[in-house]
Amino acid sequence: MSALQPSELDRPALARGRPAAGADPKTASAALRRAEFGDRLRSLALAAPLLLLLALSFGIPIVLLLSRAVYDPTIADALPRTSQALGNWNGQGLPDDAAYIALAADLSNSQAKGTAYELAKALNARLPGARSQVLKTVRQLEGAAGKPPLDIMKAVPFWSAPGTWPTIANGTHALTSFYLLSALDLRWNADGGIERVPPEQAIFLQVFLRTFFVAAAVTLATLLLGFPLAYLIASVPKGLAAILIVAVLLPFWTSILVRTAAWTVLLQKFGLVNGLLLWLGFASERLDLMYSRIGLIIAMTHIQLPFTLLPIYSVMRTIAPSQMKAAYSLGAKPFTAFRRVYLPQVFPGVMAGCLLTFILCLGYYITPALIGGASDQLISNFIANYVNVELNWEMAAALSFILLVFTLALFGIFARILGLDRLKMV
């Protein structure tokens, strides 16, 4: 396209009686530049409302949540004197009496301000059992008229136990890696290195592994079910293909919640699936499919099948049948032709479908919540639980952080290898 084609001169101002292009090249190109600048500005202004709204309704909430994972000023705010007194503590053994006195003053102060419970909760998140000790000490400090605070502090064994002071010292930094490490079942040890938490405290690694396992199982199942069907739809005449594709699209257009509800009906002890298994002789008694891993995987496979199938189908549709015929006529056996001619071409579609399903499975919440049992809850369910039940925002934020990193990394791979255009369904 040359520089002065009509499409470049598209501003009304230019079209309406400015000096005609060619009369004075300088003015014309200046007008063109101005017009282009105006054009850009106008298109930015058109997009601005939605971008602003998204930043407010989506961007800020996500950033705010993620910041909770690494920024927790509760302890630092509640213990200003202590954090000052700990300034010259080397982290070994117990700090000097000044730190105890400062802590007592901070505790009394937080009780007066009404923030003692918040502090106790924040310490408890990092040091299980700390909540009751803090609240007990606070009450004693309040009730003890005349008794020196130092004596009260020293009388509670918790404040001289190993681990207490390092945790406090750590907590007085508002920026913390504690929650992110916890989300991976890691912690700082006394020597400043990172170590695994003891097995009885480890929760999350297992949940992440479970999430990956369920996602992988569902991806594989959708591929096994979806690939042949996609191949069939791409091979049959147009009219039949249209009918078959409707069979894929109908469930695709039904909401995840409705399909999950359907599966809760189907998977009941006296539901259709159990009846079918008995009738076919695959099972000798009715199985507990609800609240089980296998029930969860079946339902998720049903929900994800179109997501895997459609990208594969959209690639298969573009492959001319003559290619396979050419391979046959050159002497290739059906399997060889399939493996060496067909498969390499549909591979991007297979990758797109599988990656998409895997990524979406990592974030599943509704289906595990309704169909999974206590040991089938995925990472999203833990995030929701930390917000709704435990009221531990920092832990929810740290788990979100890690889930988001995995999701975005996989999407980065997706966009890099396959391009964002493959995201479009149908």
């Binding site: 800020i60 909401s255 359907a262």
Partner: protein, 275 residues
């Protein structure tokens, strides 16, 4: 072309097996979504076949009791609000992005799509945290805002697709003929991309109407939507009323999405015809 002109017996068996397997897969796809339909017309209170008798009593529960009525009302308020904002702003953004000169298109598009990529629980929890601070939690406005983030990518993509078939010279012709930009938009551009816009609106409506996770975190008891009422019902006690609600929701989303896809196809057909 499944069979070659002179199929060998082995080939016939393979194709027969493929059909058999695909038939089972199609049953697996369709039976679960169709199962709630007959159950919702069952007169008994259990989910056991054979059905006890035909009745509309569960639909009377869903359409007639106060709890479900208010849920349907809330769903409609939220979905219409979301559709209105997402369609308006999404269309403007799609028009802006269809301009080749738009600065940073390659950055903006992934950003616009990111609400679809981020796991929805993270979106819900983040919105809850932020909206509670600014007084938007437990308000219709808050739910609509959060839903707009989830719905607008569909509008941008659908309208964007219909704009690739739009000849920009038409806008220039309108301008030369003396039309102001707004007039040109409403009288030239909008009528031509209308199928795409309506299709995007239908996607936005369904996205909001079906959404349950964000609502779960943001809605107060008085703002429960239909999906949330279903979710709570599924957790508490499985009642056939849920199959009736599920059937209604399924019918609504399928009808809207069929319309949306037909419209989208129409606007793309126009593109094929024009280019």
């Amino acid at each position: 072309m499944l069979l070659s002109p002179y199929p060998t017996p082995g080939e016939r068996i393979r194709v027969a097996l493929l059909w058999l397997w695909c038939g089972l897969v199609i049953l697996f796809l369709l039976v679960p979504i169709l199962i709630p339909v007959p159950l919702s017309f069952n007169s008994g209170a259990f989910f056991i076949f054979p059905l006890e008798g035909l009745s509309t009593r569960w639909y009377e529960v869903v359409l007639g009791t106060q709890r479900w009525q208010s849920a349907i009302g809330n769903s409609l308020i939220v979905a219409f609000g979301t559709t209105l904002i997402a369609t308006t702003l999404g269309t403007l953004t799609a028009i802006a992005l269809s301009n080749e000169k738009f600065p940073g298109r390659r950055i903006v598009m992934p950003l616009l799509l990111s609400p679809l990529i981020v796991p929805v629980v993270i979106t819900a929890v983040g919105s809850y945290l932020f909206y509670a601070r600014v007084g938007l939690a437990s308000t219709y406005a808050g739910i609509i805002l959060a839903h707009t983030a989830l719905a607008s990518p569909f509008v941008v993509v659908t309208v964007g697709a219909s704009l690739t078939g739009f000849d920009r010279n038409l806008m220039r012709a309108a301008a030369i003929s003396g039309a102001k930009p707004l007039t040109a938009f409403f009288r030239v551009m909008l009528p031509l991309i209308l199928p795409g816009v309506l299709s995007g609106a239908a996607f936005a409506f369904v996205t909001s109407f079906d959404e349950v996770v964000v609502v779960q975190f943001l809605a107060s008891a008085g703002q429960r939507t239909m999906p949330l009422e279903m979710f709570i019902g599924l957790r508490e006690k499985l009642s056939p009323a849920i199959t009736a609600a599920a059937t209604l929701m399924m019918a609504l989303s399928i009808v809207l999405l069929v319309v949306a896809n037909l419209l989208a196809r129409r606007s793309q057909g126009r593109r094929a015809a024009s280019g």
